[in-house]
């Protein structure tokens, strides 16, 4: 049921003659593979591959991340993962574009009180400013005791809401630092 084989070799070589060969191709079906086609290969061949996990839902599909010289080339399912066996859903399959999304933020944006637009801010400067404000908010909202006089040792000046795509290690540091600062309004998507 498969198609028949090739034409005679001599015919094949005739096709390589300029003009004639091209004319022969016109409308006649047989045609030649271009240089590009002949060199075709999976562009990830031989590339660095990193094992990761999909960042969307909680199924936990394994991903293979192909990179070349610090550039992301491809993300696909990890066939060895017993969870997804190489498959991905549309969101997982779009992960490369999530990373390379057109509006991807790479600089701190700052909006001053009453401001009508973003300003750019150096990262270290932003970190200093945030730390200052956080400390001030802690002090501002500090309570040794509540209105009954019961010890609470806390601040209500600051709050946190985390998404559920944060790593466990990140959540651990969030809870650890904020609790040490006395903040209790530490929440997560898991509540929502």
């Amino acid at each position: 049921m498969t198609p028949s084989g090739s034409r005679p070799r001599s015919f094949e070589s005739l096709r390589r003659v300029p003009v004639i060969g091209r004319v022969m191709d016109w409308g006649m079906g047989p045609s030649a593979a271009s240089e590009r086609t002949r060199r075709a290969e999976a562009r990830i061949a031989g590339m660095k591959v990193t094992e990761s996990v999909c960042p969307f839902c909680a199924v936990g599909c394994g991903q293979l991340v192909y990179t070349r010289a610090g550039e992301l080339v491809d993300i696909e399912g990890n066939p060895r993962s017993p969870i997804n066996q190489g498959t991905l859903c549309p969101k997982g399959a779009s992960s490369r574009q999530l990373v390379q999304q057109p509006g991807r933020l790479t600089k701190v944006k700052y909006r001053r009180p009453g401001g009508s637009d973003w300003e750019e801010l150096e990262l270290e400067r932003a970190m200093d400013m945030i730390a200052e404000r956080m400390i001030a908010a802690r002090e501002d909202g500090w309570q040794d005791t509540d209105r009954h006089g019961w010890r609470v040792d806390r601040t209500l000046g600051l709050a946190h809401l985390g998404g559920a795509t944060l790593d466990n290690e990140e959540n651990y540091l969030i809870k650890k630092l904020f609790t040490a600062m006395g903040a209790i309004q530490i929440e997560n998507q898991a509540r929502i």
Partner: protein, 333 residues
Amino acid sequence: MSTGSAHTEIAIHRSGAQRMGFFTDTTVCIGCKACEVACKQWNDLPADGSVPGKGASYDYTGDLSASTWRHVRFVELLEPSPQLREEAQRALESGGGNKFPAIPASGAIDLVDAAQAGDGAADVAEAVSKMGDWVFMSDVCKHCTNAGCLDACPTGALIRTEHQTVVLQPDVCNGCGYCVPACPFGVVDRDPQDGRAGKCTLCYDRLEDGLEPACAKSCPTDSIQFGPHEELVEIASRRVARLHERGIEGAYLYGAGDEPDEQLAGGLGAFFLLTEPPELYGLPAQADSPVQENVVPATLAAVGAGLLASAGAVIAFVAAGRLSRRRPVRESW
């Protein structure tokens, strides 16, 4: 000149190469569109916008195009028609299920014609029983044995590879567009930017490194299977038999397993397991000649599919249902 039965020549030879293809089993497709995205991701195809005005459907892709090489079609058997339901309710009144609240009577019943033309109430009853159906199908280039596009291509941009797949070489294509109408399935399209044609390559580049095509790899439920064509046909035939055993008698293969002289386009490298008449999926019932003698234009197929989106189209649906009941298995197609 080529004829209806001629096989186009293989442009690339590799020892041990065999025909590779896709078997797309619509009965396990969940309509997730992973294949669409995985294809775009691998082939670096841009998001090319959405087709608006699809009503209740989740299908905003519309059709295959130069930058969309997989398309999950949502066959909307759930399209609303209160009149249909009311009529059906009456037809089914002996059933007594009465799961829907009574719908206010309406003078115009758009199914009268359909009901009168056929077996009457029974057809409507079946139509209603099928209203629980919402069929998904991932469409793709069929990689025909007799590929109209390849025959029409004047530049040699379209070639048949060692896997007997039909590949369009963008570095050769001059954008003449002859291939576009030559495809009986409406698969090939030209890029509105550079004018060159584009379509599924069955991931020719991945195959060269022994990787399976991106769509098949991503498919969460293995609705898209990739492999040696011969093996796939065997797998698919067994699958049809199993479905028949389970009472899904309408299951049939589209584009494979037919008698040689009845093969669609000489047989499809990418074939499908369907449960509804092909027109419902926007597929032509016939596509058997590379010289386009006998082709149902893709546009017509599209019109057919579009019709189904309107209430009146339920007539077509009921009619098609009859057709499929009379000739339930693949031989008809």
